[in-house]
Symmetry: C2
Subunit: 193 residues, 2 copies
């Protein structure tokens, strides 16, 4: 039994990065995928921890070699992707691999690893998501309308996922996710009945 | 035999929209997929021809119902997607369905329709692509470097595709694509040997 990849995605501003950061700190048994990117490191970012910072040439080599589970050019400026080999190694070692990613990336992973577990991180309520999205109140009415329309579409994507976890509290949501990952692993290696 | 979907993608500025527009005008036997979008129509754009212009609520309904072969929120502002049903109907009717799409969208379609034919539109040369990308010469040196790095990565994506067509001349590239779509259809319905 080599385990199962878990993919965590969700709408803009739902807080999936915060949940992933909490898991990185509090749940060392989870192996968190590290994305590769061609953008420069920002202050405080550590190569190999927050991202693998690579050149455009190296990124292109990895794409050409089929070494990206999913990738994208973002805003036409920098490339981001998930290296395939570390995920496969973590799976082979029986670890609990987790990939925190955007909605488009999740749909790409489905093409490469259809047996992965796809988990949607949902806000506790529509109002909560609205507060996160427009909380700063600096945008125009038109900008606000666009953001809310986008949020509706992104929330509808929950139907594409195997599981939904509500991000009512970071610690609790992280615990629910890790429990889900652990329980199925146990079930798979120690079948009952 | 219900035919096979063809997906045309390629790097930024390679001219895939121009090839698709040429096919729309000159090859009526090809059924060209029309994307749905939540952005407003621009002058000259016709609903149902260039896009299906839909509300955010309608788009979200389609996502929730699994009616999008692939979709994305672009720059956090507007959603774009490929309605699944018209593609399936065109396939069932034995037409020659073509989907012109970006690289991320193509990888998502692979998850929904792995048997599709994935065609990469390539520039005739690196210099040609550079001219298309930076032709206007208004960008800074740093901006130019970013664009070229992105182009290298996008070109590497050709390895993910079944076929490569070189866009040396729009009419010829379009003809090659349509011939490819026709020949395989004939082969499939009238097997030789």
């Amino acid at each position: 039994m080599t385990g199962r990849l878990t993919v965590l995605a969700g709408p803009t501003a739902v807080g999936k990065g915060t949940v992933a950061a909490h898991i990185r700190e509090q749940h060392p048994e989870v192996w968190l995928s590290v994305s590769a990117t061609t953008r420069p490191a920002r202050p405080g970012e550590v190569d190999g921890v927050h991202y693998h910072f690579v050149s455009g040439d190296r990124f292109a080599e990895m794409v050409a070699a089929g070494e990206m589970l999913e990738w994208a050019v973002v805003h036409g400026r920098a490339s981001y992707g998930t290296p395939r080999r570390p995920v496969e190694e973590a799976l082979a070692e029986g670890r609990l691999p987790l990939l925190e990613i955007d909605l488009q990336g999740a749909r790409q992973v489905r093409a490469s690893m259809p047996d992965a577990r796809f988990v949607f991180l949902a806000p506790p309520s529509w109002d909560d998501l609205v507060t996160r999205l427009v909380g700063r109140g600096t945008e125009s009415e038109a900008e606000r309308a666009v953001r809310l329309e986008t949020a509706k579409v992104e929330l509808a994507a929950s139907k594409e996922f195997d599981e939904v976890i509500v991000n009512d509290e970071v610690r609790r949501a992280a615990q629910e996710l890790v429990s889900l990952m652990r329980s199925e692993k146990k079930t798979a290696s120690e079948p009952t009945g």
